[in-house]
Symmetry: C2
DNA sequence: GCCATTTTTGACCGTTGGTCAAATTTGTTT
DNA sequence: AAACAAATTTGACCAACGGTCAAAAATGGC
């Protein structure tokens, strides 16, 4: 069969099926963890044969990476939306912290899976295309924060002489990721006496911003109203903003 | 054979062999990741049969958890040593950050493995005794930081009215863990333009302490000399303190 | 040297990630 | 509509590996 008008339709169907597989695999990964399901189960669930799965993904790890990258893309999307919040630089970075809450709600186990994939034996089994995709989405998250920081420094909300923008970005990324991981850990919540893990995530972001000297400092201002605005304008339907 | 004088010796030999297995498994885990080796390889490496391995560990995951808990115990040991550093509260918390550097040097891949183990399908395959061990060591790390914070608040180095001690502990734990993870990630280092990841780990700890309002603030003091003292008195032979 | 008990062993089993030749479907030509 | 060729799908099959357990070996008391 030579190139024909059906080619485009075929490509569309192929892409749709790939979506379906990823969607179903995400459910499995979430509910049962990487070891808790096998490719035969998944083939049955999506109603295709195992061989067909392997036309899309070169290994189980490759598929898991695709699932993770999908989540990471959503994270980047949330970050970019948050970044467009109409407010001061400190309010915009607060919106990023809210995006982290939104993400943690939708993908509580994301970092567990991500860390697993990045350990040597997993990462190497994924295709280089999907590795590249993952790097790209990680880059989007990074740049969104970096941009806000550069603008904050330009506006004078954030000191310029104490650190380079990359250092501040690195600090914020570290604390947001670390907080997500810690907040989702049952034992940690018990020790920390945390009732609402997502409040703690935003709190940690605040503290780091304070440490960077990002004006106005959190204990000099009240962000309750800002939070309500962020939810209303950027994340309507969010469930993580407790108390009216 | 009734209870005899050989019992104690047997127990000692058993424990020694368990150490050997864990030591060898740690090498494998570090070099090849969880999927990169099998129980037959390991049996060969320790010069015992596979059946003998399963007298010590009820599954491969159980063994991996034992390896991780061993690392975590070392982390707790480092924390406790750091906590005894002879200095002000802020210097002692700096010593904890140095302990994190020491730990990151000795166990660069620790959190990758730890996250993997905590995902459902892995954790459930480990014995409850080893799960308990892991929780215990995590608790030691937590309490060490918590204690310094309580003392800092008592001494007036750290505000009492802005947060509860657990909140501060949670913030510091989050940032140290997050920084370790981020600092060990190749792509992240490239984006952040980080030449020495461990300097960034300490820097992030500093920024969080500043955010908590922990006196004396990092940009009001120079901790270069403190670092040198910490290395000399607590971590002799440390390789992560660059520049004289 | 013999026996009872404990300990060690590795052949064996079931599961599962991954492959590929055969079967099926699709689309074009006559 | 029949025949044909290209593309796609399939699931039986294979090898690798985690885990088991009956048999073998080692131990220690008599």
């Amino acid at each position: 069969m030579p190139v024909s008008i059906t080619t485009a339709r075929r490509a569309r169907e192929f892409a749709a099926r790939e979506e379906l597989i990823i969607r179903e695999a995400r459910k499995f990964l979430l509910e049962r963890g990487f070891q808790g399901w096998n490719m035969d189960d998944l083939a049955h669930a999506v109603e295709y044969s195992k061989g067909t799965l392997y036309q899309h993904f070169e290994s189980k790890e490759d598929l898991a990476l695709a699932v993770c990258t999908g989540s990471l893309q959503q994270r980047a999307d949330l970050f970019e939306r948050a970044s467009n919040f109409n407010g001061g630089s400190r309010e915009r970075i607060r919106a990023i912290c809210c995006a982290c809450c939104e993400f943690a709600t939708a993908h509580p186990e994301y970092f567990h899976a991500d860390m697993m994939l990045k350990s040597a034996s997993f990462w190497d089994k994924a295709s280089s295309e999907r590795q590249e995709d993952h790097r790209f989405q990680a880059g989007r998250c990074w740049r969104t924060i970096q941009q806000i920081i550069i603008e904050a420094q330009a506006m004078g909300d954030l000191p310029r002489d104490r650190f380079k923008p990359e250092e501040a970005t690195f600090a914020l990324v570290s604390v947001t990721v670390g907080s997500h991981i810690m907040a989702m850990e049952g034992d940690m919540r018990v020790m920390a006496g945390i009732t609402d893990p997502l409040i703690a995530v935003r709190r940690n972001g605040d503290l780091m911003c304070d440490g960077l000297g990002w004006k106005p400092l959190s204990f000099e201002a009240d962000y309750t109203e800002t939070d309500r605005r962020i939810v209303r304008e950027v994340f309507p339907g969010a469930t993580w903003l407790k108390s009216a």
